[in-house]
């Protein structure tokens, strides 16, 4: 049906891209063909988006060559790329909400003509709509459109500019299942018409149902590529994740006590108003670490926020030590004993310009001896801060230093110091070792294990599978806001986790079974 005269339109050879401290793309070769939908598969940090950003003119490669229709070419800006027929649709749409669809499209045209020519644009939009079966109302305001419709506008924009190669970055991340199906149809139409389509994704379902070919990136390298029809999810998952060497930390046997943190059928929406969590239910007991695995963007952030009072749960209940705390304020959450190590260190966890001492006391400032009634006892504050600095080996050890001058590792130590000291039984840790070096990473994990010894319930949300496998007692996999499975670490293999992370439901885990208690 779609194998006709496909030919190579873009060839990437040996593309290398460096960022400070990170080799994002390492000698990547890739072929993009007309009449084909290519899926670029890989975990976070594999380098897929970077590679496509290079192709779309956003980055200059440090090495390698891009060829367009056989001729080598260099792009200096996204505009260059579009002028050559290559366009990319990012996860964050670049649309002006208060203007209409037609107006947005006009804006992206290069002409300097004075007049708007709305009618002509409207006509062409209709024609394109017809051609690709993509209904788009030229006079609708962007803010009136659903996310799926906005995405179509973005696609329309590229088509209008005559793009022959369309790249979509995680296109279904913001879509409902129905919209995703519609998108698949649209993309298929485009491919049939001769366009070359590339979708960047980490979802196996998408790969299998959307694409004709799939290329897999891992840690910046292109590992392999397959014809979709000839491969399987298992093969893809394995290639995507690879074999990893895990270093071991001592972990005593888990003796979970009673369930402290309990979620029952939690439903929540994300920023765009789309469902982020579906019927999430689980329990975490005393002295247990429950690791939440999953590719970023599958509801982890929303999960942490809902528990900590930073996001409303539309449905469901949350209990701490059997007391209901659903939809409490952040203050109440803290009061009831939840400590939160946020994923966004600088943006949420710290006040970068304030000194260490102020950052360390962000929780403790409400209590004696640091405060009495209205008043803040600075001396006590300093003593408290100095104590923490010493206990957690934060460097530099001067309390007056502004937090932003600390290294990432020390910043994380600061946050840990604060949260653990305030810990009253529940810790929600989100990407606690992101961006840290080996030494800092180890010390953070050790600290979490120590807290576990003390009987704390810890919910560990991380993109780092190593980490999850290393210190969690049980593992929960989140995909598109749903729990794919919860099982003791010992009973689950890496392959199985990878599959679940990529959306595959496994017979083995059809019923998510909490480790303790019965199904709610």
């Amino acid at each position: 049906m779609h194998k006709s005269e496909t030919k190579v339109v873009v060839e990437l050879k040996g593309i290398t891209k460096n960022f400070p401290g990170v080799l994002a793309n390492d000698q990547v070769d890739l072929e993009i063909r007309t009449h084909q939908i290519l899926a670029l598969l890989g975990e976070n940090g594999a380098g897929k988006t970077t590679l496509m950003n290079v192709l779309a003119g956003l980055y200059k490669p440090d090495g390698g060559q891009i060829s367009l229709n056989g001729k080598p070419i260099e792009f200096h800006s996204p505009r260059d790329a579009i002028n050559n027929g290559i366009g990319m649709i990012h996860q964050h749409f670049m649309l002006v909400e208060s203007l209409t669809v037609a107006e947005n499209i006009i804006l992206s045209l290069q002409s300097n003509a004075l007049s708007l020519n709305l009618d002509r644009v409207r006509k062409e939009i209709s024609e394109l709509s017809q051609k690709y079966q993509m209904p788009v109302d030229p006079d609708a305001y962007i803010w009136q459109l659903s996310v799926g419709e906005q995405q179509r506008v973005e696609i329309m924009r590229l088509l209008y500019r005559g793009a022959d190669v369309l790249i979509l970055d995680e296109p279904t991340a913001v879509l409902t299942p129905n919209e995703a199906a519609d998108l698949a149809a649209v993309l298929r139409n485009m491919a049939d018409e001769g366009k070359a389509v590339v979708i960047i994704t980490h979802k196996l379902n998408e790969v299998m149902s959307f694409s004709d070919r799939v290329a897999i990136l891992r840690s910046g390298k292109k590992i392999d590529s397959f014809l979709t029809a000839k491969t399987s999810k298992e093969e893809l998952a394995r290639t995507m994740v690879g074999r990893k060497v895990l270093f071991h930390l001592e972990r005593s046997k888990c003796n979970p006590g009673k369930a402290i943190l309990e979620l029952e059928n939690i439903e929540a929406l994300n920023e765009k108003g789309l469902p982020a969590l579906h019927s999430v239910s689980f329990k975490v007991s005393c002295g247990e670490i429950l690791g939440v695995a999953g590719v970023a963007g599958n509801g982890q952030r929303e999960l942490a926020e809902v528990i900590c009072g930073l996001r409303t749960a539309k449905n469901g209940r949350i209990y701490i030590d059997e007391e209901e705390v659903t939809n409490c304020t952040p203050y109440q959450a803290i009061d009831v004993g939840i400590s939160h190590i946020p994923g966004d260190r600088l943006g949420v966890g710290l006040a970068p310009n304030l000194p260490l001492s102020d950052n360390l006391t962000m929780k403790a400032y409400r209590e004696r001896p640091i405060s009495r009634g209205f008043f803040l006892d600075r001396e006590q504050l300093q003593i408290f801060a100095k104590n923490l600095i010493q206990t957690f080996s934060i460097s530099p050890p001067t309390p007056e230093t502004p937090a932003r001058l600390l290294s990432g590792g020390n910043q994380q130590r600061l946050i840990l110091a604060r949260e653990i000291t305030a810990n009253q039984g529940v810790i929600i840790a989100v990407h606690p070792t992101r961006g840290l070096d080996v030494g800092a990473t180890e010390s953070v994990r050790k600290t979490l294990l120590e807290q576990r010894e003390r009987g704390t319930s810890i919910l560990l949300i991380s993109e780092d599978l190593d980490e999850i496998l290393q210190i969690s007692d049980r593992i929960l996999v989140l995909y598109e806001g749903k729990i794919m499975g919860i099982l003791p670490t010992a009973d689950i293999t890496l392959d199985e986790i990878s599959l679940m992370m990529a959306g595959q439901t496994l017979e083995k885990f059809n019923q998510p079974i909490p480790a303790t208690g019965s199904n709610p």
């Binding site: 400070p20 970077t50 203050y331 600088l346 949420v348 962000m362 803040l376 992101r434 961006g435």
Partner: protein, 364 residues
């Protein structure tokens, strides 16, 4: 090769001193050029200004007098700015304070024991200013209405209200043509130290101390600073932002209100047209120049007062318009604004695309 500005990690020590100094000098030079263009000897002019504002006890006292309302409003404004709440409404809050104080002085005075008149006026003024500030605060806290625009509008309403009062129902029947109310009874006059310096100066110093204390030694102050530094972190740690908005504006408006009381009670002893002469806006400049530091604000307000008095002196001694003070003020500001860029940013020329932030977060 492109030139871009890149934020410095740390304000270079040197620049914190050098930049204001340099800006000040540039402003003086610029002012000198203007003066020359109008046939005025700048050296002579500056000399007169300095002498007239700082050169004698009398001069100093006049400077202080001008500085007092600037100090109070500057402090009030600085508290709200700490929280990134842009209170442009100090002008109106001051006016409302003046009105409230005048009300007590003109109408309630007969019913209050004389030693309570001043405290009553102070209380009324603080409350009036606070309530005036409360309205935009509540709108922001509840619905998120832009406070720059609301506080600005409230200014006009207050100014018009003052006008209405002293042109209308409160007009002094023996006014001799000067728009204003009747003079306050003696019990409503702020006592004087020397010259015209009234105890309002104590209010200012007390306000500075209070501001400094609140910001550094109370839980509320901690929260205010935290919100200003990183509102997301504040929310994450359970700080009630709405409540803080309200508290801050009550304080901010209250101080401006007190300034209004000090003006009507200490200087003019009546409610008069000169009450709203831009203190509220100058206060913003002062707060900004002093980097929101309470003691700095006292100093800068003092200097600003000196500038204004100096300008008056130039008018008297050299027949040169007093407006030169404003020109200088504006020039100083422009150069300071321009100069601050060097303190906070570094110029980078883009030949090679070197990214240079420290502690780079994991990409992806």
């Amino acid at each position: 090769m492109r030139i871009t500005f890149e934020k410095r990690l740390e304000r270079s020590r040197l620049s914190i001193i050098l930049v204001p100094l340099f800006s000040f000098i540039m402003a003086l030079l610029f002012g000198a050029v203007i003066l020359l263009a109008f046939g005025v000897n700048p050296l002579q002019a500056y000399a007169v200004m300095v002498k007239g504002s700082l050169g004698s006890i009398y001069a100093l006292s006049e400077t202080l007098v001008k500085a007092i309302p600037l100090m109070l409003t500057g402090l009030g404004v600085s508290i709200s700015f700490r929280m990134l709440f842009w209170n442009i409404g100090a002008e109106g809050q001051l006016a409302m304070g003046g009105i409230a104080a005048a009300f007590v002085a003109l109408f309630l005075e007969p019913y209050i024991p004389s030693f309570l008149v001043l405290p009553a006026m102070m209380l009324a003024a603080v409350l009036a200013g606070a309530l005036w500030g409360l309205i935009p605060a509540a709108l922001k806290a509840a619905i998120g209405v832009n406070e720059i625009l609301t506080t600005l509008m409230m200014n006009y309403i207050a100014i018009l209200f003052v006008e209405y009062l002293y042109f209308g129902p409160w007009r002094d029947p023996e006014g001799y043509g000067f728009p204003g109310t009747a003079q306050f009874p003696k019990s409503a006059w702020l006592p004087i130290f020397t010259g015209r310096v009234h105890i309002g100066i104590l209010f200012a110093v007390a306000a500075a101390a209070l501001t400094w204390f609140i910001l550094n030694y109370t839980k509320r102050g901690y929260e205010i600073r935290l919100i200003g530094q990183n509102p997301r972190a504040a929310r994450y740690t359970g700080v009630n932002i709405s409540r803080n908005i309200i508290v801050v504006m009550l304080l901010s408006g209250g101080m401006a209100g007190l300034a209004g009381m000090a003006e009507v009670s200490g200087i003019a002893h009546r409610l008069y047209s000169g009450l709203t002469s831009g203190y509220g806006y100058t206060a913003i400049i002062i707060a900004w120049l002093a980097s929101l530091n309470p003691w700095g604000i006292l100093l800068v307000a003092f200097l600003m007062g000196g500038l204004i008095v100096g300008g008056d002196q130039i008018q008297i001694a050299m027949q040169t318009p007093a407006a030169v003070a404003q020109v200088l003020q504006g020039a100083i500001l422009f150069f300071m604004l321009g100069g601050s860029i060097f303190a906070n940013y570094r110029i980078r020329t883009k030949n090679n695309r070197e990214k240079n932030t420290s502690g780079a977060e994991q990409h992806g």
